[in-house]
Amino acid sequence: MFKRLRENPVEAVTITVDGSALKARAGDTVAAALLAHGVSHVRTTPVSGAPRAPYCLMGVCFDCLVTIDGVGNRQACLEPVRDGMRVETQHGKRKIGS
């Protein structure tokens, strides 16, 4: 659904999403990398279990919450990708251990 505007020769970064490797570009946010890869939703809500995707992309809606390197409820739209970053989609409530 989303396409990159130009195939700029930008440094490639590899992250994992739920254990699978995903190629992103330096400067991408986690949310942009996920959307560019066709991910349709990144979490389900804590109470009703409804699916949610990145929406505002500027840090205010909190719909893009994911677990990053073991820490839950991080805003994917505010986190730049780093090589080796582990991203996990969330299902329901955050675990207090993560």
Partner: protein
């Protein structure tokens, strides 16, 4: 911030040590606690709203030997008090607490547990009460402050800035505002409003299966941290120093809480009679006028909706049941 306690509530249905100094209050609190499950079921069948009432028992945790000693003294005084309902409060060592609350931190030295303590979703209670009232045909007129209560014929005439209303019977249940309303019908209601602050975290998987007096996890997963007390009736602003003490104590009780994000803090005004105990009265000079106010509106909701409401419908407060809660108790003559 919220002026109204019903919107700022911590949502405990709490029994532990209530009634110290007034054994009838212990009895009345246990009566309401025991009636709560039926009350919640009735409201749910009336409105379709599940209040998530649970009574797993509740804890009070102590973070130093001094706190532990103070708690021991309170419980001993409570159990030595005659005339109340002698319900169980267990004093527990740290190791026993850890069996029920495995996530406690090293600073927890001990505490107390009462099997009658519970909690509820107070926002759903608030909504269910309003919905049930409207289905029963009750008209709710918010923001109609009562300026005068007069008599005309056999009726009360209630004046507000938006017009007057007639009623054959009235119940003053306006919380702290009862202090101003009570004299209009020949009663008194000495109040002492208190500010309280609450911190709310993001939702997490259930890890805390028992409420504490100062900390609980809601049915939807948020953790509420609370129980500050300040004199005053201005809800504006927020005292960050108070929040930091509450957060620090919460993290010492459950170190895992340090990982959570705080999503809201609020401050509201507690309804508080001057001596902390409920006030229920009926007017002798203005027959048909009743007054009901208390601090623990959620805990006592079941007793109010059942026992007390029935007495008011019947037109007479039962002296044996609620006589101890008359404001006559404040009428003590000074000795020179």
């Amino acid at each position: 911030m919220a002026v109204r306690a019903s919107r700022g509530n911590f949502a405990l249905v709490w029994v532990q040590t209530k009634g110290l100094g007034l054994p009838d209050y212990a009895r009345w609190t246990v009566h309401s606690s025991n009636s709560w499950a039926t009350f919640a079921t009735e409201l749910a069948s009336e409105t379709g709203i599940d209040l998530h009432f649970q009574r797993p028992g509740g804890f009070h945790l102590c973070l130093s030997e001094q706190e532990l000693e103070a708690r021991k003294q309170i419980i001993t005084r409570f159990h030595n008090q005659r005339g109340g309902t002698d319900y169980r409060i267990d004093f527990l060592e740290r190791d026993d607490i850890a069996k029920m609350l495995p996530d406690i931190g090293p600073d927890v030295v001990g505490g107390s547990y009462c099997p009658l303590d519970g909690h509820v979703n107070s926002l759903k209670l608030f909504r269910a009460l309003h919905l049930a009232l409207s289905r029963l045909g009750v008209t709710y007129l918010p923001n109609h402050p009562v300026t005068a209560i007069g008599r005309r014929g056999g009726q009360f005439e209630i004046s507000t800035p938006h017009g007057t209303h007639d009623a054959g019977k009235i119940v003053l249940a306006a919380g702290n505002a009862n202090q101003a309303l009570a004299p209009m019908v020949g009663l008194v209601a000495p109040m002492k409003p208190e500010r309280g602050q609450i911190i709310v975290t993001e939702r997490v998987d259930p890890f805390l299966h028992f409420p504490l007096g100062t900390l609980r996890q809601t049915d939807e997963g948020t953790v509420m941290i609370g129980d500050s007390r300040e004199d005053g009736h201005d809800p504006s602003g927020s005292n960050i120093a108070i929040n930091s003490v509450m957060a620090n104590r919460a993290v010492r009780m459950f170190p895992k809480l340090a990982r959570l994000n705080v999503v809201r803090c609020w401050r509201a005004i507690r309804v508080m009679p001057q001596d902390g105990f409920p006030i229920y009265d009926q007017s002798e000079s203005h027959p048909g006028a009743f007054l009901a106010t208390c601090h623990s509106g959620v805990t006592l909701a079941a007793a109010h909706a059942g026992t007390l409401a029935r007495m008011i419908v019947d037109g007479r407060l039962d002296e044996a049941e609620v006589g101890a809660f008359s404001a006559r108790r404040f009428d003590v003559q000074a000795v020179a």
